[in-house]
Amino acid sequence: MKNIILLAAAVLAVSGCASVDISREGGHTVAVVENSGWYLFNAIPIASGDPGNPNGRTCRLFSSTVNLESNIAMLDRAICETGAVSCIDTVSYTTDEKVFAILLRRLSYHTTAELVMEQETAEQKEEETQPCSSPLM
């Protein structure tokens, strides 16, 4: 029984993980969304991150949430929670690690975007409405 509990704990510890990290340095707010999951034989999902609870210690067993839609949903939630109004420069890519060819595969989706705050958009609008300064003579 003890071994089973240890095994279950180990599986949960290395299982899928969903995270949203936000950096606010230098007046730029950048969000990095990551979701990863484990697959058996490249196809059967064992565990993947829970997009409903990023940065939490929960995962979804035997279902695959590792896709673009989950990452975009987490990004949307980050936009709402940070008080941003939109995002720019959204980029996505995937990485994967394999154990013994196709026996075990860890797939991760990464999405990054710069969040645009309400204040920034107001400043941009102000800049757009201001007449251009005359060129230097």
């Binding site: 949307d76 995002c87 394999k98 154990v99 060819a101």
Partner: protein, 130 residues
């Protein structure tokens, strides 16, 4: 012996290569985010052995002895895919290219000592659709 060969063949096909394209809508901006990826295996870094099939009418997910892991083919598929989303105007295209010339048996951290014999190439492209 037969089951072992069958398992090895199945493993080779599963790792052969795969083209994928997907999209999701960013609610905050109303824009769609499109992501496509393809990868394949090459002999001597240039002769295609097998890769994901980037043909839009593809029956099989992989194709032998044809190079579909090119920026042109992936970009064309992304642009075609984006035509049906919003206004179809694609912006902020971003590539993530990956090349491995020192073939490593996956998971064992043991590379084949001679580089450029069996190589791997993967291309990923993401972008927005306004």
């Amino acid at each position: 012996m037969k089951p072992v060969k069958a398992i090895m063949a199945a493993a080779a096909l599963l790792a052969a290569g795969c083209f994928s394209i997907e999209h999701a809508r960013i609610q905050a901006t109303g824009e769609y985010h499109v992501f496509a990826s393809n990868y394949g295996w090459y002999l001597f870094g240039s002769l295609p052995i097998v890769c994901g099939n980037a043909n839009p009418d593809a029956v099989l997910p992989f194709v032998f002895f044809r190079d579909d892991v090119t920026m042109d083919k992936i970009q064309r598929r992304v642009l075609c895919h984006s035509k049906n989303l919003n206004s179809g105007k694609v912006c902020n295209l971003s590539y993530y290219n990956d090349n491995m010339v020192l073939f490593e048996f996956p998971g064992v951290n043991f590379p084949v000592p001679v580089p450029y014999v069996l190589t791997y190439r993967g291309i990923q492209l993401s972008g927005g659709v306004k």
